[in-house]
Symmetry: C2
Subunit: 115 residues, 2 copies
């Protein structure tokens, strides 16, 4: 396996790693409808300010979100819309894996999609 491949697997793994955390998914979910500042994200995610800031830094490192500072606030937004394609793919998969009856399944899927 080439050196290039090795590197590539590392990159891809780090990318998935950034999405492998419930709180970060919550934050990304909060950004579905556009930019939010940190305080707003703290609200919707239910996390602490310090913790949310850390996750935001990590997501930014992974180039998944971008930051724009305006006045004393920091506005974050999605840098790559493909995130949601990814999540939707995974959500479909998860939903189909869960042994829910059809009704519950529908609730589940719509809960994921309408946020």
């Amino acid at each position: 396996m080439s050196q290039l491949d090795e590197q590539a697997f590392g990159h891809v793994a780090r990318f998935f790693q950034a999405l492998a955390e419930p709180m970060r998914l919550k934050i990304l979910n909060g950004l579905r409808d556009g930019e939010k500042n940190v305080s707003e994200l703290v609200e919707v995610s239910g996390g602490t300010q310090a913790n949310v800031s850390k996750h935001l830094a990590l997501l930014r490192d992974a180039k998944i979100i971008k930051r724009e500072s305006r006045g004393t606030k920091a506005y974050y937004s999605i840098a790559d819309q493909r995130i949601y394609e990814l999540c939707n793919l995974v959500c479909g998969q998860i939903a189909s894996q869960m042994s829910l009856d059809a009704a519950a399944n529908e609730v589940f899927i719509s809960a994921l999609k309408t946020n």
Copy 2:
């Protein structure tokens, strides 16, 4: 945020987590062209037998691969083809993020796709 959402984020996170490891990506890459037994996967991944077995167990838990035992060997294969859609999405993203010139970029992408 509903209880259902909380659960959902957890599920999705665990799914991404399974993909957030270079060795596991290597293994999945090794399964692109069909089933392989553990020894073959040890070969193509370059890992130790114990370690590969553990990653296989984890991937199986995540329902990403399935196992079929034949004789004394264990054959693994992809349980959900969407994995590769995911990886391709991410690879495209990674490639476009890397500051490579066009030529190098092409090499990079084809290296990812042709394995």
